[in-house]
Structure formats: structure tokens, C-alpha cells
């Protein structure tokens, strides 16, 4: 609660920190980290470098060190971070290349860092805008409008009388009765009944076509019951399943 009360917010405090504990032990503090541009801004700030004259070799090294560390710690490195790594390396190599150019051309040559700096500045601008929004919400949360007036819209049940309640209760009761009736209907074809009729037919006619038996069923539920009855009768009674041709009809036959 105390944290949400504070009015200003230092974004850099929240970002990552790499500190060297001992000779080959690195300690990593991961803050709320917002992508490669954030990391880059953080590294530039940590190096106390001028954003308009980024020491690209140094920053690239630091950046790659950080990515390696992320990999080492099994943090999946997002593609965006790798794209930025490639960009940094590209800029670094461009700046290392010997440039044989006349003075006239030099004036027109764009600094390989320029596009990146532009992107960093744009990003920083919106980071500051985000901070402004953060401060605004903090102020907004200290302001309260009047509580809602009770109206039919936000409190629809206020108009209900005892008779309304009774009506609703009767409806629920009626629904309940309907449900019970449906269940009784379902119970009409129980597995036991199905088994009995199946058994009777097999023992009377000595054999029964499965296809014909299944076709007599009207509902999915009946079909399922019939199927289970067939499985059951094969398991418990001396009844055999026979198929004369591949994919042909299956005959239930009394042994």
C-alpha cells in the first residue's frame, strides 16, 4: 500500500542490475524489464555515457554479456533482444571499417549509430510519458466521486414484492417437476430390461443380427444401452459373436 502511495517513480531502480560478487560469480537482479531498448538505455546510463556519442564497442560488449548471462540462467531470450544484438554488432563493425572517403562525402555520411540513437530517444520520450501517466493514476486514486445512487438500473431487485418472490419460487418448482418427469422417461429402458429382451430374442431364434437389433433403437441413449447389453451378454452368457465376411454383419449366436 505504501508503494502505491508514492507520487514519483524511478524507472531505473526497477531495472536489472549485474554486480560482480567474486571473481567468477555474477549476481543478477532482474527488475521489470521492458525489452532491448530498455536494457540498452540502462547500460548507457550505467556507463555514464553520452547518448549522442555511444561508446558502441563497450556497450555492445556489456549487452552481449547480459544476453549470455540470461542464457546461462535459462531465461529464454526473446527474439527482440537478439535482433538488437545483431544491430549493435553491425554498427560496431561499420565503425571499425577503415573509411576512405573524401571530406565532401564525410559530411554526407550518416553516423551508423544515428538510427539507433533516434530510436532510443523516441523510446525514452514515451518512457517519460508513461511515468507521467503513472503519476496521474496515483493522483486519480486519491479522488472519490459520490457513491452510486440506488436505481432500478444498478439494483433491479428493489421493486420485488413478496408475491414476486412467490412467483419465482413457483417457476423454479415447476421446472423441478419437469426435470423429474424427464428422468423417469429415461429410466424406461434400463440396462437390465435391455438385457432381458436381448437374451429372450437370442434364445428364441437361436441367432440375431446385430445390425437389425441396433436399427430398432430410436435414441442415442437406447443405442448405448443396447451396445452395453451386447457386451454384457457375450461376457456372461454362452453367446458367440460371428462375422462371416470382412466388414459384414455380425451375428449373435447361441452356443
Amino acid at each position: 500500500m505504501e508503494q502505491t502511495e508514492q507520487l514519483s517513480f524511478d524507472f531505473y531502480k526497477e531495472t536489472a542490475q549485474i554486480t560482480r560478487e567474486s571473481r567468477d560469480e555474477l549476481k543478477l537482479h532482474l527488475g521489470e524489464f521492458n525489452g532491448p531498448l530498455d536494457l540498452l538505455l540502462y547500460l548507457i546510463k550505467q556507463e555514464q555515457a553520452n547518448i549522442f556519442d555511444i561508446p558502441i564497442a563497450k556497450i555492445t560488449d556489456e549487452y552481449l554479456k547480459y544476453i549470455r548471462l540470461m542464457k546461462h540462467l535459462d531465461i529464454s531470450v526473446a527474439g527482440d533482444f537478439l535482433v538488437m544484438a545483431a544491430t549493435l554488432i553491425e554498427i560496431k563493425s561499420k565503425m571499425l571499417l577503415p573509411q576512405e572517403i573524401s571530406e565532401k562525402e564525410e559530411e554526407e555520411m550518416e553516423d551508423p549509430r544515428e538510427a539507433l540513437v533516434r530510436q532510443l530517444l523516441e523510446h525514452q520520450k514515451f518512457k517519460n510519458a508513461a511515468q507521467m501517466l503513472y503519476e496521474r493514476t496515483t493522483v486519480e486514486q486519491a479522488v472519490f466521486p459520490r457513491g452510486k445512487i440506488e436505481s432500478d438500473e444498478n439494483n433491479a431487485e428493489t421493486n420485488a414484492s413478496v408475491f414476486d418472490l412467490l412467483g419465482v419460487f413457483q417457476k423454479i418448482l415447476a421446472r423441478h417437476v419437469e426435470e423429474v418427469q424427464m428422468e423417469i422417461e429415461r429410466e424406461e429402458i434400463s440396462l437390465a430390461d435391455m438385457l432381458k429382451s436381448l437374451k429372450k430374442r437370442i434364445f428364441e431364434n437361436k441367432e440375431l443380427s446385430l445390425l437389425a437389433f441396433f436399427e430398432e433403437m430410436h435414441t442415442r441413449r437406447e443405442l448405448v444401452t443396447a451396445f452395453i447389453a451386447v457386451l454384457e451378454i457375450v461376457r456372461t452368457e454362452s453367446v458367440q459373436l460371428m462375422q462371416t465376411t470382412t466388414f459384414g454383419d455380425i451375428i449373435l449366436k447361441k452356443v
Binding site: 524507472f11 501517466l133 472519490f144 466521486p145 445512487i149
Partner: protein, 193 residues
């Protein structure tokens, strides 16, 4: 002829309404309204012209400021609203037994800042500025109704464009989008880093 008589009475009533009476009615209407109430709505209800109502609202605002009480009248999201003064938020929270609602994440705030200043803006354009995918932040903002879809951009892939909503103005205490400080104002801070 009752109709003519009624009309006559209305005209008479309108003529007799003093400015202080209008100020009082405005106060009553703003008080009962759940949402910020616009000058136009008040003007329609009172059958007064906009200028008169605007003057009354300003007068009322001044009254609240001079009084330095627990309430303030403020302009927000194109309307007027009566709210408590920020100074007393601790006592109010204690009384209501509420805590401040969870704040947006940094990623969501940044995405919202880009959308607020660049609207209507597409997802690829947001990616360009933030340098990172913003899909989950955009979903959060849509869920909280701070942004809305504003049609598609007629370019490759016809990406969806987003802009801020009325809820955005309400939650950030803004009269309208022009009240946002200019994005160029944030440049000075950049140079200073």
C-alpha cells in the same frame, strides 16, 4: 387554452431564474449524476443557453475553491463531476475500507503512452517505438477498456488501429486528449539524462 397558458408560465419561469438559482440547480444536477455531466445536458434540462450554463458552472467551481471544503468541482472527460479533494484520501479510504486498485504494469503504461500520443496507431508501429512485442499489454488495456479498436489501416496486412477510450480520460483525470502534455515536453528530460 391550457397549452398557451403553460407555455406562458414556462417563459415566465425562465425569465425569473436568477444566476444564483441556476448555479444551485447545476450543483444539484452534478451531485445526482453518476457520470460526468456535460454543459449541453444541463442546458437542455434547464432550457437555458450554453453560455449561461457555462458561466454558472465556472461560478460554482469558484465557490468550491473559495470554500476549500471537502469537495471540488472538476472538468473530466468532457463533463463536470463533483469529487472529494485529494488531501483527504487517507481518511476516505479508512472510512470506505478500500485499497487503491492495482496499478498498470510498466509495459502496459508504456504501451498506453504510445497509443495515447500516436493514435490511431497499429501494433507494428507500437513495436517500433517500444522495441518489444506488446501483445499482452494491449490485451490488458483492451480488457480494462482503456483503449478501443479504431478500424483497420489501409496498408499491407490491414493491421488493427488502436486509440484511447473515454475510460482512459476518466481514469487519468483528463478533460480531453489535448490536456495531455505535449510529447515534445518529454524531450528535455531526455537531453538531461
Amino acid at each position: 387554452m391550457p397549452k398557451t397558458k403553460n407555455h406562458f408560465m414556462e417563459v415566465e419561469e425562465k425569465q425569473t431564474r436568477s444566476i444564483s438559482e441556476i448555479v444551485s440547480i447545476v450543483e444539484a444536477l452534478v451531485f445526482v449524476s453518476d457520470d460526468p455531466v456535460t454543459v449541453k445536458i444541463i442546458a437542455d434540462v434547464l432550457e437555458e443557453d450554453r453560455e449561461t450554463v457555462e458561466a454558472a458552472v465556472e461560478e460554482l467551481k469558484q465557490e468550491y475553491e473559495t470554500r476549500e471544503g471537502g469537495l471540488q468541482l472538476r472538468e473530466i472527460a468532457g463533463g463536470w463531476q463533483l469529487v472529494t479533494r485529494t488531501e483527504y484520501h487517507e481518511e476516505i479510504r479508512k472510512f470506505l475500507k478500500t485499497r487503491p486498485s492495482a496499478k498498470l504494469s510498466l509495459a502496459a503504461l508504456e504501451t498506453l503512452a504510445v497509443i495515447a500520443y500516436k493514435q490511431p496507431v497499429t501494433v507494428p508501429e507500437i513495436l517500433d517505438i517500444r522495441g518489444v512485442q506488446s501483445a499482452s499489454a494491449i490485451k490488458t488495456l483492451l480488457d480494462k477498456k482503456l483503449i478501443t479498436a479504431k478500424g483497420r489501416k489501409e496498408t499491407v496486412g490491414r493491421p488493427m488501429m488502436y486509440g484511447t477510450s473515454k475510460d482512459f480520460l476518466l481514469q487519468f483525470g483528463l478533460k480531453d486528449l489535448s490536456e495531455l502534455p505535449s510529447i515534445e515536453d518529454f524531450e528535455d528530460l531526455v537531453q538531461g539524462m
